[in-house]
């Protein structure tokens, strides 16, 4: 599903954010990326949806090279991914429903279809009753679950989550991780960056450990 081949990302000011990173993630696999802050976790996740381009190396997603994807194809690459962020990145002036519907509307789904799919996604994260609320009226855990519903509503084959539990207490974090396990059990590939090692240990998934831009474990 996702393959990194000797990927290096260098920002001009500092050294290598990622150095010669190679790994292969099979379809239906769930893996964590761990490491200290600044180890390159976010950078790695940003390379897949072409938010940033690698300096060297190749990235193959879903059988297609991503490292040199043309600008005009980037939107269609991103539609095959579900992105989850530490700070949720929900739109404050839109209801929960509208937030979750965004990927479907962007992809040009029939409006009759949108309602059904959005409610199915909200149902999965247990927020069906809050579709008319605004994000600011929700707790952190609920906001992140809205973010997750938004990431899965268009049924992407792969989900990328960057510190999804970074702002949540342990109990809520466990809840979120259970959700991820559920998605994984129906065949979704997941790559989750986190520094919560306890959580990773408990779940017992494959772990890619980064240290100063190098992959030191799990490659």
């Amino acid at each position: 599903m996702l393959e990194f081949i000797k990927v290096t990302k260098r920002y001009s000011e500092s050294g290598d954010a990622l150095a010669e990173v190679s790994f292969n993630l099979a379809a239906g696999e769930m893996a964590f990326i761990t490491g200290h802050s600044g180890a390159g976790k976010s950078t790695l996740l940003r390379l897949v949806p072409a938010i940033e381009r690698p300096t060297r190396g190749q990235i193959v997603f879903d059988g297609r090279p991503v490292h040199d994807v043309p600008m005009r194809d980037i939107p269609f690459l991103r539609r095959k991914l579900g992105l989850i962020f530490q700070d949720y990145r929900l739109l404050k002036d839109r209801t929960v429903f509208d937030n979750v519907a965004l990927p479907l509307i962007i992809a040009g789904h029939n409006p009759l279809d949108v309602g059904r799919r959005v409610r199915a996604a909200l149902d999965k994260v247990g927020l069906l009753r809050k579709e008319k609320r605004y994000p600011q009226g929700l707790s952190g855990g609920e906001q992140q679950r809205v973010g997750i519903a938004r990431a899965i509503v268009h049924k992407p084959p792969m989900i990328l989550a960057d510190e999804p539990t970074g702002n949540l207490d342990p109990e809520l974090s466990a809840e979120i991780m259970n959700l991820f396990r559920e998605f994984n059990s129906v065949g979704v590939t997941l790559l989750v960056a986190t520094h919560d090692l306890g959580l990773v240990k408990r779940l017992g998934c494959r772990t890619l450990r980064l240290n100063q831009g190098r992959l030191i474990e799990g490659g």
Binding site: R46, P49, N110, P111, L112, R116
Partner: protein, 333 residues
């Protein structure tokens, strides 16, 4: 279990969505496309109403920028029409040689009536002329002492309405001058020519103003859209991360530009006509002073189309330019 729950949450709106509808059929896609446009338009308009003050100001500034050239244009157009109307109502005065009797004038007037370029003729006899002179000149008492009537008979000639250009009028004038009965012919068109020249200058000025103020509309809309873009930065970034194309992001802003420009044009239309309504009374008086039947015209359909069309094109262009620039500089991070 998830499947069972899913069926339960189906709302009446979703019931019509049969399985094949969710497929990528052309009809389905088109339906989705138009629905999206409709939604985007409504959303753009809703945003306009959410910020009533700044929206009103923008619309007002656009309206003023459009009202200035448009009302001048309407006034000049009216003046041009009025001048044309004046020309057609202007009579030529053919003064006969003083020695000729009224009878000769009557015969000439009859004869000229059948001239292809002349619509009508009237004879002012020597006696009528003297009566008019006594009545209007203020020399009434002095004229009493005249032993003989020194005035010639005059044939008033109205050229055909179709005869409007200066060359043709001049041709007729020359022809009349060469009549053996003619002493001289009076036809004062010089001031009309001067007026027309002035109107041409005004027209040119308005063209320049129109371009400048049109650019103004472009900039106003552009600036308003720029502020809106800044306000919706996060939304755009998120949409880009979710796979939105530039076209998708641009769309609501183009609709906003359209709304501003259209509302501005409508307001300008009202203002221009209001202005014309205000000066209608004095204009009627002025026209009557010149003996013209001309009445002030409001904005016609072609002018209205021009106003609306130009404004909308400028509004959309302004929005487009700003969004295109920002999309190139904006990255999701």
């Amino acid at each position: 279990m998830a499947l069972k729950r899913k069926n339960k949450v189906r709302r009446p709106t979703a019931r019509t969505a049969s399985p094949e509808r969710s497929g990528p059929g052309l009809l389905n896609r088109m339906e989705a496309y138009f629905a999206l446009h409709g939604e985007t338009f409504k959303d753009s308009f809703r945003r306009l109403r959410q910020t009533p003050l700044s929206s009103t100001l923008t619309v007002l500034v656009i309206a003023i920028a459009l009202t200035l050239p448009m009302s001048f244009h309407a006034l000049i157009g009216n003046a041009r029409q009025a001048v044309a109307a004046l020309e057609s109502t202007t009579e030529m005065s053919l003064f006969l040689k003083p020695s000729l009797p009224n009878e000769a004038g009557r015969k000439l007037a009859e004869r000229l009536k059948s001239h292809p370029q002349i619509a009508d003729t009237t004879l002012i006899t020597k006696e009528d002329g003297l009566k008019d002179l006594k009545a209007y000149s203020g020399f009434g008492d002095a004229l009493k002492f005249l032993e003989t009537n020194p005035l010639p008979a005059v044939v008033g000639i109205t050229p055909k309405a179709s005869l409007t250009d200066a060359m043709a009028l001049q041709g007729l004038l020359d022809e009349l001058r060469q009549l053996p009965e003619a002493d001289f012919v009076q036809f004062d068109t010089e001031w009309l020519s001067k007026l027309r020249a002035l109107l041409a200058i005004a027209d040119r000025c308005i063209a320049v103003f129109s371009v400048l103020l049109g650019l103004g509309v472009l900039v106003i809309v552009g600036n308003t859209i720029r502020l809106e873009l800044q306000h919706r930065r996060e939304e755009i970034a998120v949409a880009k991360l979710m796979g939105a194309t530039d076209r998708f992001i641009r769309r609501p802003f183009l609709y906003s530009g359209f709304c501003y420009a259209f509302l501005g044009a409508v307001l300008a239309w009202v203002l221009v006509n209001l202005l014309l309504l205000l000066i209608r009374g004095p204009a009627v008086q002025l026209a009557e002073l010149y003996g013209s039947p001309y009445r002030l015209a409001f904005l016609g359909l072609p002018e209205t189309e021009l106003l609306m069309g130009a404004s909308v094109v400028l509004g959309i262009a302004g929005a487009w330019a700003v969004v295109a620039y920002h999309l190139r500089t904006l990255h999701p991070e």
